[in-house]
């Protein structure tokens, strides 16, 4: 009569304990990579140059600034990838936002004081970025275009429009407030890093503590289940691509502020870096798993590799090899973990 069952009944408990340990370690692999890389560069730096790598505030800040743009793109991509989608258009949405922010700041500066002109520029960059995000969402949720194809199309459209608006060149901004936003410091911390940290905290909250985040995981695991639970899945998907575009837009605005210029190709090399950050951070491209903190670690891994290799005078092209190797190792760890029946969230 009774159906006595327990979750431990499937495996020998000692075995499951060691498996659980492996799974725990696998879940933290991005942080482990990061620690190993930092130890490596710290050792190298002390042996070769007799100075510290990590504990130099110049190096630490440079790495943080390096990580800002790919991390912002990766934050939005974390949500999209957890839901089982992908957004290939973020790099050029970022470029488009950078160009728009630059133009709008200059244009508004003709009639408004610099601070107001900056606000107009930031708002314009973010709002225009939402356009391609909205189209992505409609294509994928209503017209059932596969995310890879839909966002690849938008990649081309955003790229073309950004280059057209920029006239094929970079658009310099002359606005003292905007330059201060991109290069200034508060209590010694770069402002763009502070903004990014606050945004990371917000995204972590949204993904881990709200219904929106919970539904994102559910859609990635089983879209039918989400539909039958009464979740408005098409609306949710539209919001995900809007969020992704907003993150890219913020990346573009901060880029324009940092370099006091908008460039259509601002985000071009960052698309793959941002997806790599999400994957190294523990998300599966099949959907259903991933965390914001993992993505942060993934973005830092890439930034440390890129900055560190330059720091130790290795030819910069080695960074592509190094990042590629880390991605492959990360996916292999993920698959091993799955085989062991690991926790997927």
């Amino acid at each position: 009569m009774s159906a006595h069952t327990s979750t431990e009944s499937r495996a020998d408990p000692t075995q499951s304990r060691s498996r659980q340990l492996i799974v725990r370690i696998a879940a933290l692999r991005a942080w482990l990579f990061l620690a190993l890389l930092l130890i490596f560069f710290e050792t190298w730096s002390r042996v070769s140059y007799g100075q510290t790598f990590l504990f130099s505030s110049y190096n630490a800040q440079s790495i943080a600034i390096f990580a800002v743009a790919p991390l912002l793109l990766a934050l939005g991509s974390t949500f999209v990838i957890i839901s089982g989608g992908i957004d290939l258009s973020v790099g050029f949405i970022m470029g488009l936002a950078a160009v728009i922010a630059a133009h709008a700041t200059n244009l508004a500066g003709q009639s408004l004081p610099p601070f107001a002109a900056m606000l107009v520029g930031i708002t314009a960059g973010l709002v225009v970025a939402l356009g391609p995000g909205f189209v992505n969402g409609v294509l994928i949720s209503k017209l059932k275009v596969p995310p890879f194809i839909g966002t690849l199309g938008m990649f081309g459209v955003a790229r073309g429009v950004a280059f057209l608006l920029a006239g094929g060149t970079t658009v310099p901004v002359s606005n003292s407030w905007f330059a201060a936003l991109g290069n200034g410091r508060v209590f010694g911390f770069p402002i763009i890093v502070i903004i990014t940290v606050l945004f990371v905290l917000l995204m972590h909250y949204v993904l881990s503590q709200t219904r929106f985040g919970q539904h994102t995981y559910a859609i990635g695991a089983n879209e039918q289940a989400a539909i039958r639970s009464g979740i408005n899945v098409p609306r949710h998907i539209r919001r995900l691509y809007l969020l992704s575009a907003l993150c890219a837009g913020l990346g573009g605005v901060l880029y324009a502020a940092r370099f006091t210029a908008g460039a259509a190709q601002a985000g071009e090399p960052l698309l793959l870096d941002s997806i790599a950050a999400v994957v190294i951070g523990g998300a599966s491209l099949f959907g259903g798993s991933g965390t914001i903190l993992g993505t942060v670690a993934g973005a830092l891994v890439i930034a440390v590799i890129q900055y560190g290799l330059v720091f130790i005078n290795v030819e910069p092209f080695w960074q592509f090899v190094a990042v590629g190797v880390v991605i492959i190792i990360s996916v292999l760890v993920d698959q091993t973990q799955r085989k062991l029946g690991g926790d997927r969230q």
Partner: protein
């Protein structure tokens, strides 16, 4: 004509009266009637294409009926959607269970209607402790004792996952549970667990429609069998007054 395992005086929780459903030129259901009493398990049997799925989809609000009427707790009802049927307490558990494998039992129970609480008085966050507590209590009602409430349901076995899907339905006070082939994908020990789960639900006074191809399972848990053949009611029998041979004859005709 009608056979019931419950006393006549009790009102049926679900009463399907002469329901018909067409898809274009195909009459998927012709004048089918069946009733279901609280605490009763009715097996719905029939060959492929007999209309079992159409009948349960009509009851659960996926399809509208073209003719006849469905009465729930004595009132005529028209469900425009599965959500409307669910709001009345009719819950369907499909074969694929519709679980999010990466989420915990609690998160699955509350999927789409998660409880929230506030931290520091103003930041709304998911109330995970409440979800875990409800999950533990609900699963205990099914005699299913869970040690790890944070584990994703993808880690559980087939029978345990079935229990989670049933737990989700009973948490939301389902009075009628429609189970589509709940034992089909399971090994023999797991099938037994599901059968005892169904007996447990029956003891709680819930009414169950149980679709199965497996006559052994049907005879193990059902009070009555309703047999469909080519969209019509081929017959209805009390389990105590029939045998597998007779049911097979009703299913295939002859």
């Amino acid at each position: 004509m009608s056979v019931q395992s419950q006393p006549q005086s009790q009102e049926p929780i679900l009463d399907v009266r002469s329901v018909s459903k067409r898809f274009g030129g195909v009459e998927a259901l012709k004048d089918v009637s069946m009733s279901l009493y609280p605490g009763e398990v009715v097996a719905l049997a029939g060959d492929n294409g007999a209309g079992k799925s159409t009948l349960i989809k009509t009851i659960s609000g996926v399809h509208g009926a073209d003719g006849g009427e469905i009465r729930f707790a004595g009132e005529a009802v028209h469900f425009a959607s599965p959500e409307a049927a669910r709001a009345h307490g009719i819950e369907t558990i499909y074969q694929d269970l519709a679980l999010a494998d990466n989420l915990s039992i609690g998160a699955n129970i509350f999927l789409g209607r998660e409880p929230m609480k506030r931290v520091l008085g103003f930041i709304p966050v998911l109330d995970r402790p409440a979800m875990a507590k409800a999950a533990k209590e609900t699963m205990a009602r099914l005699d299913f004792h869970v040690n790890r409430l944070d584990a994703p349901v993808g880690r559980f076995s087939g029978g345990q996952r079935q229990a989670v899907a049933i737990g989700r339905a009973i948490y939301w006070n389902a009075r009628v549970l429609i189970m589509d082939e709940p034992t089909a994908a399971l090994g023999v020990p797991e099938q037994r667990k599901v059968v005892s789960l169904i007996q447990n639900l029956k003891a709680q006074g819930r009414a169950i429609i149980f679709i199965s191809h497996n006559l052994q399972d049907i005879f193990a848990v059902a009070d009555r069998i309703v047999v469909l053949r080519r969209g019509t009611l081929a017959g209805e029998r009390k389990i105590s007054e029939t045998n597998p041979d007779e049911i097979v004859k009703l299913m295939v005709g002859g």
